[in-house]
Each structure stands twice: as structure tokens, then as C-alpha cells.
């Protein structure tokens, strides 16, 4: 197998230069973003590499927890920022993403699929949190826009003596489904349209394809579990804040 080092990574810049030249010839105004993006990704990934190396070597449980907490908070902040309809987006995203990701991770540990080691917890938590972040962001945004666009439907149901959960059931289901659509499409096409990153990485690192596939199956199910829990909780909490105790739509 080829040994990968900084030299090979720098050689990879030839591909970036090629992309920039093509973009310039075609007059596509992305040159600056491409250069900034290349430098940022290089610096971020190298920094993460060193951080992970340090955490893996130390095997400190506290460092593992700290890394997971930082990932969750940054992810929740990003998801919350995309909620244009309410200021509580961050809090909702944080609770739902933490629950979705931690319940899934805990189950995997309890079921003996993984052990509490940095090399398992950190990459898996990263995948769980980034997928949960997308699910939460989409669900939050969809709830807000759908409730405002369908006020008549909601108030008709309230006027027929329904409570807020019953009055928003259709909108809730649609929003949760929208939050899950990305993982559902992924599950339908995985292995056919694209080989997922974790699996590709393992194969590149020399693992047998069959072993890589087995890991990927576990990862896929784990993502489905985390995304489902996150979308359900985000949807429920997001809808609740539009109603008060008197079953009045105050959004």
C-alpha cells in the first residue's frame, strides 16, 4: 500500500490548481472561495488530526467527553442559526441532537457494538452529530414556515376542539419526514450511487471491503436511529413553542 504523508497531500494541490484554471477559463467567479476553502480545509483537518492523535494517545475519558460536547454545541449552534422563525432554535437543536446522538451511542455501547475508546466514540459521534444537525435544522425551519403558512388549518382544528398536538399533526409529520429525507435517501442508494466516506476510508486504509461494508451497515443504522430521534424531538419542541397553555396559536 502507498504510504501517505504531507508530500502526497501537497501533490494533491495539483488537482486544486487544475480546478482553479478550468474555473478561470470558464469565467466562473469561484477562484477566491476555492483558494480559501482549500487552505481552510487543510488547516482544519491537520488541526483535527493532531487533536485526535493527542486524544487517542491519552485515552482520557474526559477528553473524549469534551470533544463530543464541543462537536454537539457547534452543531446545535449551526442548526439553531438556520431556524428563521424562533430565537430558541439553539436550545431545541442542542436538546434534540444530544438526545438523538447520545441515546444511539449509549445503545451501541450497551449492545457491545463498540467500546468506550476514543477511536470509536469520536468518529462515530462526529457522524451522528453532523447528520443530526442537518435533521434538526431542516425540521426546525420546516415547522416554522409550515405553521405560519397553514394558520387557517391549525386554527380551524383548534376551533373544532382539538389540542395543539392534534391541530398540528399533519404539519408535524411532514416536517419530521423532511428532516429525515436525507438519511432515507442515503439508505436507499448507499452502495449503488455512492460509497460512503467511512467505508471508502477503511478500504483506502487497507481493510477488507467486506469488513468495511459491515462497519458501514452499523453506521447506517446508527445514523437512522439518531436522525429519527433528533427530528422527532426537534419537531415536537419546535411546535410547542408556537402554542401557550390555553391552546392558543401565538406564533
Amino acid at each position: 500500500m502507498i504510504e501517505l504523508g504531507y508530500y502526497q497531500a501537497l501533490i494533491g494541490l495539483v488537482l486544486v490548481a487544475l480546478a482553479i484554471v478550468i474555473a478561470r477559463i470558464k469565467k466562473i467567479p469561484t477562484e477566491k472561495e476555492m483558494i480559501v476553502g482549500t487552505i481552510r480545509s487543510f488547516v482544519q483537518l491537520i488541526a483535527v488530526g493532531y487533536a485526535l492523535e493527542f486524544i487517542f494517545n491519552s485515552e482520557s475519558l474526559w477528553l473524549i467527553i469534551l470533544a463530543v460536547v464541543v462537536m454537539t454545541v457547534v452543531g446545535a449552534y449551526t442548526a439553531g442559526q438556520q431556524d428563521r422563525h424562533n430565537k430558541n432554535g439553539f436550545r431545541i437543536a442542542l436538546i434534540s441532537m444530544s438526545t438523538g446522538s447520545l441515546v444511539t451511542l449509549a445503545l451501541m455501547i450497551v449492545l457491545g457494538i463498540i467500546t468506550i475508546e476514543a477511536r470509536y466514540i469520536i468518529p462515530l459521534a462526529g457522524m451522528l452529530i453532523s447528520n443530526s444537525m442537518n435533521a434538526s435544522a431542516v425540521t426546525l425551519d420546516r415547522i416554522g414556515s409550515d405553521l405560519k403558512a397553514n394558520r387557517l388549518e391549525v386554527e380551524t382544528a383548534l376551533s373544532l376542539g382539538k389540542n395543539w398536538q392534534e391541530s398540528t399533526r399533519r404539519l408535524y409529520r411532514n416536517a419530521v419526514k423532511a428532516g429525515m429525507i436525507s438519511i432515507l435517501n442515503y439508505l436507499k442508494t448507499v452502495g449503488i450511487v455512492a460509497l460512503p466516506g467511512a467505508m471508502t476510508g477503511m478500504i483506502l486504509a487497507g481493510a477488507s471491503p467486506l469488513k468495511a461494508v459491515l462497519i458501514q451497515i452499523i453506521v447506517s443504522y446508527m445514523l437512522l436511529s439518531a436522525v429519527t430521534i433528533t427530528a422527532l424531538l426537534s419537531g415536537e419542541m419546535a411546535i410547542r413553542r408556537f402554542f401557550n397553555d390555553a391552546e392558543q396559536f401565538v406564533g
Binding site: 387557517l152 386554527e155 392558543q248
Partner: protein, 244 residues
């Protein structure tokens, strides 16, 4: 049928203030009024007079900022909101029907309660009994409004709040809805409180009329009297179309 003219709903010094674009706006201003069984009430007034805002307080879709509303001598806030809204039903300007058939919509409030009685309820709302299994997407606006009325009647309300239910209808359908409201009010002793922009419609419905201007109750009494011999300057301006 004698409805006994019993007081069912009472507003005492009811006001509502909202915040709009950074400024406070009083949409309902110190209204005192009692509504009685089996009577039709017209809420009239120029645009922005607070008619809909007042109506929405009556089944607690919104909350008064001050004052209190009583249903059967008990404050609205002492009733569970879901139960209260079954007794004080509301019909909106544009009827919203849930996806599915007419039957699905009628069953929405209380599934199975009247499962064998759908046709009776349709006829009572002036619809053909064989419409029960028709998809609501194929109905005309007038039919939709009637289905919405039939659906609300399933709740067995005592009070029916109607927010300009005929504004989207042609004159013929509009008259039919008016006749239906009158009939239901008499037959079921329903108290109907209807927002209307149209003084002629208020005259056809008769009953009592409340004139609201800038959130305040300016005039109230027998419809003919309020709309022909108002006792206030604002009332006279309203009937002379001098209020925007």
C-alpha cells in the same frame, strides 16, 4: 321553539392590545356586552374596527389583555380550552376542509359519535345526503362553507361565531348561508354572532347589531334601529359611509 332568551356569553370591560411593528395597538377597547340564546348578532363596522379581533376572544382563540368573558356565568379561562371551543364554535371567512371526504370532515370533531347520522347532518346544513363520500377538493366554495357549518354542528355548539362566512361567495350562495344561519339559530336555539361588512346582510339577518369603531362598541340594539336611527355621531357616519 322557545329559546328562553338566556344570557350565555358576557363580555365585561374586555380589551385587547397587541404590539405591531414596535407600537402598541388597541384592537378591542373596553367592550361590555351580553349575548343571549337563540339570537343572531351582527358585528358591523368599518375595516380595522376590531370585529374579528373581538370575535376571536369569544372562543379564546386569543386572550383579552384586560377584562373578562363569561360563558354561562363562568370565566372562559376556567373551562378547558378544547371543551370550550366545542361549545363556542367558529367558522372562518375562508372554510378550511381537511383532506379526504365530506364524511371524514364531519367525523373530524368526534369520530363515530354520529357515524350513522351523517346524512341527517348534511341535510340540516342544506346539502344533499349523497354527498357524504364526495372528496372535498371537488366542492364549490358555497358547498365547502356548508360542510364547514355541518362539521361545526357536530360539536353541538351553543354559540356559533361566524367571521364573514359569505364574503367569498356569490350572492345566491351567500343568501342560502344567511337563511341557514337563521334557521339553525331558531331550530337549535343557537346564538349566532356574525361579523359582516355588509349592512344589508345585517338587515336580512335581523336580530341585534353591534357597531364597532376603532375597537370600541359604539352602538348596539335591534338591527333596524342601529342601522337606520343610530344614536351617536359615529353611528350616523357609519350608515352614511363616511367612515373608511
Amino acid at each position: 321553539m322557545s329559546c328562553g332568551n338566556v344570557k350565555v356569553l358576557e363580555a365585561r370591560a374586555v380589551s385587547r392590545t397587541i404590539r405591531k411593528k414596535g407600537t402598541e395597538l388597541t384592537t378591542v377597547d373596553s367592550i361590555d356586552f351580553s349575548f343571549h340564546t337563540g339570537t343572531v348578532y351582527n358585528l358591523v363596522g368599518p375595516s380595522g374596527a376590531g370585529k374579528t379581533s373581538f370575535l376571536r376572544l369569544l372562543n379564546r382563540l386569543d386572550e383579552p389583555t384586560s377584562g373578562e368573558i363569561f360563558y354561562r356565568d363562568k370565566p372562559l379561562r376556567e373551562y378547558p380550552p378544547t371543551g370550550l371551543r366545542k361549545k363556542i364554535a367558529m367558522l372562518f371567512q375562508e372554510p378550511y376542509l381537511f383532506e379526504g371526504s365530506v364524511r371524514d370532515n364531519l367525523n373530524y370533531c368526534c369520530p363515530d359519535k354520529y357515524a350513522n347520522n351523517i346524512e341527517f347532518h348534511l341535510e340540516r346544513a342544506g346539502l344533499k345526503p349523497d354527498m357524504a363520500d364526495k372528496e372535498v377538493s371537488g366542492l364549490s366554495m358555497g358547498e365547502k362553507q356548508r360542510v364547514a357549518i355541518a362539521r361545526s354542528l357536530f360539536q353541538e355548539p351553543e354559540i356559533f361565531l361566524l367571521d364573514e362566512p359569505t364574503s367569498a361567495l356569490d350572492p345566491t350562495s351567500s343568501r342560502k348561508i344567511e337563511q341557514l344561519i337563521l334557521k339553525l339559530s331558531q331550530e337549535l336555539c343557537l346564538t349566532a354572532i356574525m361579523v359582516t361588512h355588509n349592512p344589508d346582510q345585517a338587515r336580512r339577518l335581523g336580530g341585534e347589531t353591534l357597531l364597532l369603531v376603532q375597537g370600541k362598541l359604539i352602538e348596539s340594539g335591534q338591527t333596524e334601529q342601529v342601522l337606520t336611527e343610530p344614536s351617536t355621531e359615529l353611528g350616523r357616519k357609519y350608515i352614511n359611509n363616511e367612515l373608511s
